[in-house]
Symmetry: C2
Subunit: 146 residues, 2 copies
């Protein structure tokens, strides 16, 4: 049986999860990438590095976050949150940026450390960590039970 | 270290995977859902049921499939394939449809059986299995190694 879950249950899934997928779109071409995140209240805080997705979200801030917990084939839950991309540039957003870093540090400290300890490179381009957030404005979820 | 992987490596990841995420978009709003799939040559065959994604892909066939293998925090691979949605309606596509069913049956037999054995319902609406495929026209992938 597959059933819709409540908004409260959707929030609970986001709160306890830390890996999800971020969808963005440009000229109606979708683009999906795995992300590390931390959810609190109406924001999904994201730690990211390189890439196309930032350029795309700057051009079109409408995004989608998908998170699932797949226990087995007939027991899973999947949540989709729609929202708006917000960058957290210095110095205007230094408070929000510090908050994002603090939230993400609890879950993804290893990654921040890894970035600090060595130069993560992609094709010889230095990768810098980047913080942004998604203001969620709607959520829905499905749960399958045996 | 994060490195791009070859097209051949991207195909190998798709070939051995069976769960991924499908991104579609309408009016530049992205939408991401988990999917069961089987990849062969230049097609991703998908078994799906209800929903918004089918309506959206009929309106805009440009889609994206994202597949990852996350061994641990510093060892993962993620592949993104862009492609075009193709429905496989009866009777014109009965050969392709049978092929899709055969490929998916090898990996997802439990799900086809589950659909056959009982009426899977969402809000009292009967769910019917639906087959479609994505013709992939570009792929890229990243691999992180410790």
């Amino acid at each position: 049986m597959i059933n819709e879950i409540s908004n409260q249950d959707c929030r609970a899934v986001l709160t306890r999860s830390s890996i999800g997928r971020l969808g963005c779109a440009l000229d109606n071409q979708p683009y999906v990438v795995p992300i590390y995140f931390a959810y609190e209240a109406d924001y999904v805080y994201i730690l990211s590095t390189f890439g196309q997705k930032i350029e795309w979200m700057r051009a079109n801030p409408k995004v989608c976050i998908q998170v699932d917990e797949i226990a087995n084939q007939s027991q899973w839950v999947s949540v989709i949150a729609n929202g708006i991309f917000e960058e957290l540039p210095e110095p205007q957003y230094s408070t929000e940026r510090a908050h994002a870093r603090s939230l993400l540090q609890k879950r993804h400290n290893w990654w921040l450390n890894a970035l600090a300890e060595r130069q993560t490179k992609l094709n010889d381009v230095l990768i810098e960590p980047l913080f942004f957030r998604i203001h969620t404005d709607s959520m829905s979820g499905l749960r399958a039970t045996a």
